[in-house]
Amino acid sequence: MTDDELIWRIAGGSGDGIDSTSQNFAKALMRSGLDIFTHRHYPSRIRGGHTYVEIRAAGHEVQSRGDGYNFLLALGDSFARNPKEEAVYGDEEIKPLSENLDELREGGVIVYDSGLLEDDDVAELNLEERAEENDWHVFPIDLRGMAKEHGREVMRNTAGVGVTAALLEMDLDHIEDLMTDAMSGDVLEANLSILRDAYEMAQAEYEFEHDVRAPSGEHDEEQVLVSGSNAIAYGAIDEGCRFIAGYPMTPWTDVFTIMTQNLPKMGGISEQVEDEIAAAALAVGASHAGVKAMSGSSGGGFALMSEPLGLAEMTETPLVLVESMRAGPSTGMPTKPEQADLEHVLYTSQGDSQRVVFAPGNIEEAYDQTRMAFHIAYEYQIPAILIYDQKLSGENKNVDESFFDREPNPTLGSTLTEEELQEAAHEASGKFMRFQSDPDETENGVSPRSLPGQKGGRYLASGNEHWPSGHIAEDPDNRVLQMDRRTRKLDSIREELDEEHDSQQTYFGDESADLGIITWGSQQGTVEEAVERLNDAGHAVKGIGVSDMMPFPDAELTEFLESVDEALVVEMNASAQFRGLLQKELGRFGPKLTSMLKYNGNPFEPGEIVEGFQIRLGGDSAEPTAQVRFEPAAGD
């Protein structure tokens, strides 16, 4: 925990406009020169239910949501007010103020809407006493009343932002600019005046005894605030993906929506279809015909994609899928992150799996690895899957605008043109030898493809095992040749990743340390921050965030694990799936590994990892205060 940062939590009811308000406030902080990281927590329903967004802002780079928060704007849940619904909503109205109040840091600020939260309910929280104890500064303000005065109750968000800005001693310029961009006419006028009134009221009415202020910072260049879902969609667009098919499911819907809003404007095609079996099958069909295509889903929908995924493997149809994990099993907790679909994504579908799986560790990696997934998929004619989760999907971070200033890469990879087809091998019958099996002809495992409509390229693509011409075959020798060739592609991909590109694994911490922390996917930033703190506190720790799930980066992980005496493996699931993969792929190191597992629906906070490290590797014998579980590896 650092004090030169703001972690502002805006809490209210689902449907209260928390998302747009927080998005604008985050941009205002970014424009003032700060680095931003946001965290979104929401229940799986449209109206009512406690939801919050946290914006962490600092004058230095921020990689995670941080620990707790130091400024709470509790709007109260306006949709929990119907007395007849009491049985359903219970004490939800007060939740924006009451929930996780313990996580408010010492010296923190609370602004709550006294126009919405009942005095009796607030009294029950013992707020005064707790404020005294923790040096909290509480500001009960009738935001609802202020909003009503200006016409519309929903504008109490704006009043809250005005009060926040005043208490943080921020200028209103950026906030006003952003409002002007987003609204117009009477709505804009009303919002601007309520913002000013609230700002001036707070300045005039209160003595500022609190220490929390907006930090200051400066950027060298223009910043953009993007989410993991934006990054994935933008990576796909820059690789020339112009076809997406899908069926809505949280949290994958974000990527689907962003693509759907952009593709038609670019002459691309988006299809919302009857189910996820169809979605994946459409992506296969479009790719087979020669368009760069993708589909995706979350756990349950991805399960339906199993069979088309296997079809893409067998017919060697390039395909990119994204799997946005949420807490399972079954419908699980739809809006909560978890990393429990790893094994599902690696192995689902019949037969030996022949696919590529990347787990990006942050927003920049989400973009880069999406591009890499398309490159690999089309070059090697193989499905490539991006596995991420609700956390990475919804979190926003500032990125240099120039990061996206890249060349597009629309090439179709190992696809022949009609001229090339004339030179290519054909059967006596005239059929193109689409699936050559001779190892001398297909050293890296790839046999180039033709596209329907091309002259001289006709062949049969079949999910059955097949001869080089594509015809169905059960001949044992051909079978082994074809299996070996397809499997060889994974070795070639590993080789290319190792030799021709920067590693997709991220290393951090003290290179010479004997203790390590390993994580994968979206927890990377949090672990990075924990490692930094541990090193600052005098420990020597190194860390790695792994992205290549298949083919597995054996050499890199072997080197890492040989260099440490012990390592903590941090992941968000109950059965230590990544650690299992590590042991399966490397076949040793079991005694060095301890898992730290969290599966309560909330991602790790850096402090929890610091604590976990101190307990397991740092010689501390205390019980963890966080809701986590430790588990030694098999062979320990």
Binding site: V226, G267, A278, G285, H288, F404, P408, L451, G453, G463
Partner: protein, 311 residues
């Protein structure tokens, strides 16, 4: 300049062009109705001026799914029940392709039934041939969605308690633009219907009665059959939904009474195809999307130009 020069190629098409030069020979049982579909399709395609490399046949799994193993064209033998979603995406990606999807009654009306309804509703411009032999052929004769009530098989030893699906009525309700039934035992009609289906601008569904002498012994060979367009007993207006619906209902009932009615049931000459609808709302390019990947002059859009909203 197109990168797909087989499409629309101006040349004489030989009537044997769709017959593979050598192996593989069909592995269907002697007397199987599937031969009839293959033959009719091989004849129909050259007659409507299509050449093998502008045709993409997409099949499901079953005896019927082997259709494109024995037809010389671009082919995609997919998975059980999923020929339609694969086929319709290929058509969206390259609308100039002639796309023909095919599969069994189990494949299309059972496991793939949801795709059938939705592809018909969307009215994709393609042809869909269902080999209706009223059983699961490939898996050895189990009851299928079109097996008559009471049909006995190893999985329904006491006879099916289920009323069979009404494929024609279902197709009409779902929104198919062209609906016909033909039979393997009537090759001339079959060929003509396939030609009409291919030329039709929308989703053309053919319920193709294909006898399975191996597993459906007690079932008819679909003879004698009646062509409702040639018969004096019937004269419904194929452009009239209500009359088509009545005619379909009667045809479906009669089949189980041993009378085989075939012919054209419904032709919608007015509704636009899905591609046309999608282009009209600006969600599909006018040029085939695939061509762009071969156009060196195309200026590919970049995410960099979408960043204003993130500042």
């Amino acid at each position: 300049m197109s990168a797909f020069n087989a499409i629309g190629e101006e040349r004489e098409i030989d009537r044997d062009e769709f017959t593979p030069g050598n192996e593989p020979q069909p592995t269907w049982c002697p007397g199987c109705g599937d031969f009839g579909v293959l033959k009719a399709l091989k004849q129909a395609l050259p007659e409507v001026g299509r050449n093998p490399e502008e045709v993409l046949t997409v099949t499901g799994i079953g005896c019927s799914g082997k259709l494109n193993s024995y037809l010389d064209s671009y082919g995609f033998h997919t998975i059980h029940g999923r020929s339609l979603p694969v086929a319709r995406a290929a058509k969206l990606a390259n609308p100039e392709l002639e796309v023909v999807a095919a599969g069994g009654d189990g494949d299309g009306y059972g496991i793939g039934g949801n795709h059938f309804i939705h592809t018909a509703r969307e009215n994709h411009d393609m042809t869909y041939i269902v080999f209706n032999n009223e059983v699961f052929g490939l898996t050895k004769g189990q009851t299928s969605p079109t097996s008559p009530k009471g049909h006995k098989s190893k999985t329904q030893p006491s006879g099916s308690a289920k009323t069979p699906i009404r494929p024609l009525s279902q197709s009409l309700n779902a929104g198919a633009g062209y609906i016909a039934r033909t039979a393997a035992v009537n090759p001339n009609q079959a060929k003509e219907i396939i030609k009409e289906a291919i030329e039709y601008d929308g989703f053309a569904h053919i319920d193709f009665l294909t006898q399975c002498p191996t597993w459906n012994k007690d079932a008819k060979q679909y003879v004698p059959y009646v062509d409702i367009q040639d018969s004096d007993d019937y004269d419904h207006d194929i452009h009239d939904r209500t009359e088509a619906s009545q005619m379909m209902f009667e045809t479906e009932n009669k089949l189980y009474e041993g009378e085989v009615l075939t012919g054209r049931y419904y032709v919608d000459d007015e509704s636009p195809s899905y591609q046309q609808e999608k282009q009209a709302i600006g969600e599909m390019p006018d040029e085939p999307l695939v061509e762009r990947y071969f156009d060196d002059d195309y200026e590919w859009e970049r995410s960099y130009d979408l960043l204003d909203r993130h500042k």
